[in-house]
Symmetry: C2
């Protein structure tokens, strides 16, 4: 949850006046997005999200996100495209922050996805990948495989988070370094498609949101992240075969994975579990217990990692 | 800002199904209200606020608020009335909390009210008082004059908040106890009508919100609270005569104050400034600096108190 910056009503009216979206009716800070301040803005023409970019999203990256979301929206993906003002500008300034007015998407994030919802998100991810493949831009994945060792080192004492975690992470990093594939199909991916970044109405995906970790990486790694975050019990111990098969079936409707991708999925999923295990461990150590942002327990990601390490993990990716 | 409690989408759908308000389209936690969790709920029929009551608002007080806001709304006041479900119930339970679905009101809280906005809020306050006078319910004002000494004592070391504050508060409490009027016109009042509890579109008041401090007290004290919060510079040192006159003029359009009320206004305003000075000092001492809720500086209220103590304070209330 996050509203870090106040917006003056007069400044807001001036900002909205740059656009052909009517005049302000209401503007409420919303508890969505961890890194930015977000407001649900209603005008006489409709609803929009106003995002003020705080720290982690650098202003220099904003044109990439504007172009990416515009490209995906133009290709029919339900993503929150930045609106352009009358001069064609999407990136503004208000309250001393870079800011965008963004398309509002209906829907609610599922808490406990049903198999039918997993199938829909698999298909939406696949359709998004087909559109992303023709996007000309690219961006280093600062949360990708090459950076995991540095994140582990920046965390400090991993054993203080979970006893025995340091040895486990060291061994896993060595294994992944030795086996990480070099040549799978790649383009810009979402890289963080957890259920709270998907909006749904029933079984229909109405929004793929929060692209601020989007970067260039293997498309199959994106599928692995989605697998790790949609198909497990809350404690991470059990992968639900019905949800996993549904996710894979939905994705397969849009994308025919290569044999090399299929073979790599268990490994990529180990990487996905490790990536979120490491960043949660990092935030666990570095976020005060009573801070504005809720810390997420790393343990369920460790449980997923162990499941993906098992000799029969390939079966979790059967269509 | 506050969203303390998560709402499961299935539970939300079941709750909304009790009402004749369509089906859920979107539900986003909003950073409004300090004591409760609030969500902006959109259905196929319109927009609503979903409030989950956390700690300070006791479930036992909820029927009072439901009745009060229903009465005020029925009398044409722009207040957020609780919606009743198909069985006539306004108070529900979700996520282990008492909860209400509440009418959505457009508008934005002014940051720096213009005189024309002060006049509008004065008139809206007066109209609300005319409606409240016929409301049969009542409620002890736990933040009223009789309770200020206990709040001061519960704060602890007032001098740690502002040097010299303990002596000043002791003297002011003694003065107010000696002079507080006993027989002014009274009924249920808002008691906290700061600008962030008023929604406006331009010069039009579209919402009087957050009635959770509403209680039985002098109507002129409510006007004094509004005077203290709408007519001063941010630092509390200067009362703007144009804003103050406009506020009084707007109120006078709806309510003809008695001579005793007019005479008491400077004293009531000293009480209003002291009340918010004390509760801010209390929260300053008892809220961790990095907690979810932003602490508000008590100093600007002390500056207002000093201004209302001045021999010429009566002039601030001229119409």
């Amino acid at each position: 949850m996050a509203v870090y910056t106040h917006v003056d009503p007069d400044d807001l009216a001036a900002l909205v006046a740059r656009y052909a979206i009517g005049t302000v009716v209401s503007c409420k800070g919303i508890a969505e997005g961890v890194e930015n301040s977000n407001f649900l803005l209603e005008t006489t023409d409709g609803r929009f999200i106003l995002t003020l970019y705080e720290k982690r999203v650098q202003a220099g990256d904003l044109p990439f996100f504007v172009d990416l979301l515009g490209h995906l929206a133009d290709h029919g993906c339900p993503v929150p495209a930045m609106i352009r003002d009358r001069d064609g500008e999407a990136i503004q300034r208000i309250s001393g922050r870079a800011a965008c007015i963004i398309q509002f998407l209906p829907g609610i994030s599922p808490s406990h996805p049903m198999p039918s919802q997993c199938e829909a998100v698999g298909a939406a991810l696949g359709a998004m990948h087909r559109a992303a493949a023709s996007f000309p831009g690219g961006r280093e994945n600062s949360m990708g495989h090459r950076h995991w060792r540095a994140i582990a080192e920046a965390t400090g004492d991993l054993d203080a988070v979970i006893s025995g975690l340091q040895d486990l992470v060291d061994a896993e990093l060595a294994f992944l370094d030795a086996h990480w594939p070099g040549d799978l199909p790649a383009h810009v991916i979402h890289a963080d498609l957890f259920p709270d970044n998907v909006l749904m109405l029933g079984d229909r995906v109405t929004g793929l949101i929060d692209f601020y970790f989007a970067a260039s990486d293997f498309r199959a790694y994106d599928l692995a992240v989605t697998h790790a975050s949609w198909t497990f019990s809350d404690d991470g111990r059990h992968c639900d075969p019905a949800r996993a098969q549904a996710l894979m079936r939905g994705y397969a409707r849009e994308i025919a994975l290569t044999d090399a991708e299929v073979a790599a999925l268990p490994l990529l999923a180990r990487g996905a579990a490790l990536r979120f295990l490491l960043t949660r461990a990092h935030d666990w150590v570095h976020t005060p217990a009573d801070a504005l942002v809720t810390r997420k327990d790393p343990a369920p990601l460790l449980a997923r990692l162990r499941r993906y390490q098992a000799h029969d993990a390939a079966a979790l990716f059967a269509v």
